[in-house]
C-alpha cells in the first residue's frame, strides 16, 4: 500500500470518470477514509451518542494495534502482553491527572510523560529478554502482562485496586475557549473525543508510514527476515529490537492515555489482561502483519464486532421480539464466541497473510516455507 502521490493531481483533474475515482480511492485510501471519518459525525447523528463513544474506542484500539504491529509486524517479535503497556499508559495518565494526586498536570503534559515512561518500561523489559527467541519471548511478554495486571490490582494505595482511578478529567478541563468550556464539551459530547482520537490515529498512521520507509523501519524488517544476515550487514540487532520494543510500548501507552481520558476512568486492571492482548494480536494478524490498513481493518472487524455489532444485534433481536422466552440459543450474544472464532478460523484459512497483506511480507513469508 505504498502511495504514489506524484502523478495523482493530474490524473484526478483529467479523468473524472468512475475509473478515476476508483483509482484515487485505491491510491489514497487513507485520505478518503480520513475525510469520510472526519465528516461522519456531522452527518450521522448517532455518532453524537453511544455510537460515537464506541467508534472512539475503535480508534484507540487501532492506535494500540498499530503499536503492536511495530513488534509483531515489522520486527517479527511475538508480543502477548501489549495490554500491559496499554494499562500502564492509562494508569500513568490517571495518576498524573486525577484529583487524588497532587500532580494534575493536564492532559497534554500527562500524555507526553506517560508515553515517554511507557517507552522506558518497554526498554526495561526488552533489554534483559532480547536474547530470547521466538515463543520464549512471547511467553515473557505474556508473563509481564500478568505481573502488571496483578500488581495494578494489589497496589491499592497507588492504583485504587479493582476500583481503578477515577475520575480522569477530560482534556482541557477548566480551559475556556471563547466562552466554551472545553472540559465540559469533552464530557458531554462524545464527538470531541472522536475527533481527538481520530487526530491521534491519523498522527500515528503518518508516523508509522514514515518509520516504514526510514532507516530504522527497514532495519526492523531486516532483523525480522534474517537476524544473522542483518547483523552481518552492520545492523545492531540488539538496538533495532530495543527500539521496536520502545516504539511499540510508547504507542500502546499513547492509546492507554486516550483510553483512560475517554472513559474518564482507568477501569479496573482486568481491562488490561491477556484477553485484550490476544484480541489486539488477532486483529493485527487478521488484518495483515506489517500492514497499516490491514491492522486498522482487523481492529474494525474484531473489536467492532464485540463493542458495536454484538450489542446492536442483541437489542435488535429484542426489539423485533424474535426471542420472547429469552433463550440464549436465540440471542446474538449466545453465539458471539462461536461467530468470532469462526471468523478467525475462516479468514486464516482463506487469507493466511491477512485481509490486506503487506505486499513485501506476503511475498517473503511464502518464500520462507516453500
Amino acid at each position: 500500500m505504498t502511495p504514489a502521490p506524484s502523478n495523482l493531481p493530474s490524473q484526478n483533474s483529467t479523468v473524472l470518470g468512475w475509473a478515476g475515482i476508483r483509482d484515487f480511492v485505491r491510491e489514497r485510501w487513507d485520505l478518503v477514509a480520513l475525510v469520510v471519518l472526519a465528516v461522519a459525525p456531522l452527518v450521522v447523528p448517532a455518532l453524537g451518542g453511544a455510537l460515537g463513544g464506541q467508534v472512539t474506542t475503535l480508534f484507540i484500539y487501532c492506535i494500540l494495534a498499530l503499536g503492536l504491529n511495530v513488534m509483531v509486524g515489522y520486527t517479527g517479535l511475538v508480543h502477548l502482553g501489549i495490554a500491559a503497556f496499554f494499562g500502564i499508559g492509562a494508569y500513568l495518565m490517571a495518576i498524573l491527572t486525577v484529583p487524588m494526586y497532587p500532580f494534575q498536570i493536564g492532559f497534554l503534559a500527562a500524555t507526553i510523560v506517560s508515553v515517554l515512561a511507557t517507552a522506558g518500561i518497554g526498554l526495561a523489559l526488552g533489554a534483559p529478554t532480547l536474547r530470547l527467541r521466538g515463543d520464549y519471548l512471547a511467553i515473557v511478554t505474556l508473563g509481564f502482562g500478568e505481573v502488571v495486571k496483578v500488581t495494578l490490582r494489589n497496589l491499592e494505595q497507588i492504583t485504587g485496586g479493582m476500583k481503578g482511578l477515577n475520575p480522569v478529567p477530560p482534556p482541557g478541563a477548566g480551559v475556556k475557549v471563547g466562552g466554551l468550556d472545553l472540559g465540559l464539551a469533552f464530557a458531554i459530547d462524545p464527538r470531541w473525543f472522536y475527533y481527538l482520537a481520530l487526530l491521534a490515529l491519523a498522527g500515528v498512521v503518518v508516523a508509522m508510514r514514515r518509520l516504514e520507509q526510514s532507516r530504522l523501519g527497514r532495519a526492523w524488517v531486516a532483523v525480522r527476515e534474517d537476524e544473522l544476515a542483518a547483523s552481518a550487514m552492520g545492523i545492531s540487532a540488539t538496538r533495532v529490537k530495543l527500539s521496536a520494543f520502545a516504539m511499540s510500548s510508547a504507542v500502546a501507552g499513547l492509546a492507554g492515555c486516550l483510553y483512560a481520558a475517554s472513559l474518564s476512568t482507568t477501569a479496573d486492571p482486568n481491562a488490561y489482561d491477556f484477553n485484550r492482548s490476544i484480541m489486539v494480536l488477532c486483529a493485527v494478524i487478521l488484518g495483515g502483519l506489517g500492514s497499516i490498513p490491514g491492522t486498522i481493518l482487523g481492529v474494525a472487524i474484531l473489536v467492532g464486532f464485540d463493542t458495536v455489532l454484538a450489542p446492536w444485534a442483541d437489542s435488535w433481536i429484542q426489539q423485533m421480539n424474535i426471542n420472547p422466552s429469552g433463550s440464549s440459543l436465540l440471542s446474538f450474544s449466545g453465539w458471539r464466541l462461536a461467530i468470532f472464532g469462526l471468523a478467525l478460523v475462516l479468514v486464516m484459512r482463506y487469507r493466511p497473510e491477512g485481509l490486506v497483506p503487506s505486499r513485501r511480507l506476503a511475498a517473503e513469508l511464502h518464500e520462507d516455507h516453500s
Partner: protein, 305 residues
C-alpha cells in the same frame, strides 16, 4: 510456620503441578511437531470435562459403589481420552492442516478461533455458571495424623498422571512412531524423504496430545470438582507457561515445568499471600527465562544460516 505446614504445601503443589504437567504435555507435543502454540488445548480439556460430567450424570456414578466407581473412572478416562483425541485430530485436519505452509502466526490465530468456538459449545453444554463435578472419591485422609492431608483425590492424580507421563516418554523414545515423531519435529522435509508419513505422524501427535488432555479433563473434574465453560483459559495459561518454562517441545521439560509451577503457586500462596500468586509465578518465569533462555530442560538451538 512449621515444617509440617511446609510439607503440606509441597504436597499440594506437587499434586497440582502434576495436573498442570499433564495438560502441558499436550502443548509441548503439538509445539514440538508443528511449532504451533495450540491455544485451543485448554478449551479442548473443558469439552472433555463437559463430556465427563454428562457421563457421570447419565450413569449415576455419584451413587455407585466403590468398585463401580473405580471402574467408572477408568472408563471415563478412556472415553474422554478418545473423545478429546479424536476431536483434536479433526480440528487439525480441518483447521491447521491447510495452514501448514502459511505464515507462522496464521495457525496461532486459527487456534485462538477454535478456542472461542469450543468455549461457545461449552457454554451451551454447561450453561453460563460453574457446575459442580460430583465427588466420586471419599475424602478420607490417607496419611496418619491430623496435620498432613492427602486424600484419594490427590492419590488419583499421581496414580494416573505418573504412568501416563512415563508411558509417553517410552513411546517417544523407543517406538517406531516415537522415532517418526522426533524425526518430523527435527525436519519434516527430511523425514518425508526417508519415508515417514508426515501427515500421519502429525495426526498421531494431535491424537496423543488430545487424549492426554482428555485424561486430564477427568482428573481435573475429580480433583478440582468444578467445571465451567471458561475454565480452559486459565488452565491453558498455566500449562502453556509450564511447557515453555521446561523448554517447549521437551516432554520431561513439560513435566518439570508443571511441577515447578505447581510448587511456586502453593508456596507463594502460603508464604507471600494468595493475592500475589499470579504475579510471582510469572515473575519467576521471566527470571528463569532470562538466565536460561531455552527453558529448564530445553535444548539450545544453534542458529542456522
Amino acid at each position: 510456620m512449621s515444617a509440617q505446614f511446609f510439607l503440606q504445601q509441597c504436597l499440594i503443589g506437587l499434586t497440582n503441578g502434576a495436573l498442570v504437567a499433564l495438560v502441558a504435555l499436550g502443548y509441548t507435543m503439538v509445539y514440538g511437531i508443528i511449532g504451533l502454540i495450540n491455544f485451543a488445548h485448554g478449551d479442548l480439556i473443558m469439552l472433555g470435562a463437559c463430556l465427563a460430567l454428562s457421563l457421570v450424570t447419565a450413569f449415576g456414578l455419584a451413587t455407585a459403589g466403590p468398585t463401580a466407581t473405580w471402574v467408572g473412572i477408568a472408563v471415563l478416562i478412556v472415553a474422554c481420552g478418545l473423545f478429546c483425541g479424536t476431536l483434536n485430530v479433526c480440528v487439525d485436519r480441518i483447521v491447521y492442516k491447510p495452514l501448514r505452509n502459511a505464515p507462522k502466526l496464521a495457525p496461532l490465530v486459527s487456534a485462538i478461533g477454535v478456542s472461542f468456538i469450543f468455549m461457545n459449545i461449552g457454554l451451551f453444554w454447561l450453561g453460563p455458571s460453574d457446575r459442580s463435578f460430583p465427588e466420586l472419591l471419599p475424602s478420607t485422609n490417607l496419611l496418619p495424623g491430623e496435620g498432613l492431608q492427602f486424600t484419594w483425590k490427590d492419590l488419583l492424580v499421581l496414580v494416573v498422571v505418573v504412568p501416563l507421563m512415563l508411558g509417553l516418554s517410552l513411546l517417544v523414545q523407543t517406538t517406531r512412531l516415537g522415532r517418526a515423531m522426533r524425526a518430523v519435529s527435527q525436519d519434516p522435509t527430511a523425514a518425508a524423504l526417508v519415508g515417514v508419513d508426515v501427515d500421519r505422524v502429525i495426526a498421531a501427535t494431535f491424537f496423543i496430545g488430545g487424549a492426554l488432555g482428555g485424561a486430564a479433563s477427568v482428573i481435573y473434574g475429580l480433583y478440582i470438582n468444578t467445571i465451567g465453560f471458561q475454565m480452559g483459559f486459565q488452565n491453558g495459561l498455566y500449562a502453556f507457561t509450564a511447557a515453555v518454562l521446561g523448554g517447549i517441545g521437551s516432554i520431561p521439560g513439560a513435566v518439570v515445568g508443571g511441577l515447578v509451577i505447581g510448587l511456586v503457586r502453593s508456596l507463594s500462596s502460603a508464604y507471600v499471600g494468595e493475592r500475589w500468586t499470579g504475579a510471582i509465578v510469572f515473575a519467576i518465569l521471566i527470571v528463569i527465562l532470562v538466565f536460561r533462555p531455552e527453558g529448564l530442560l530445553g535444548r539450545r538451538t544453534k542458529e542456522k544460516v
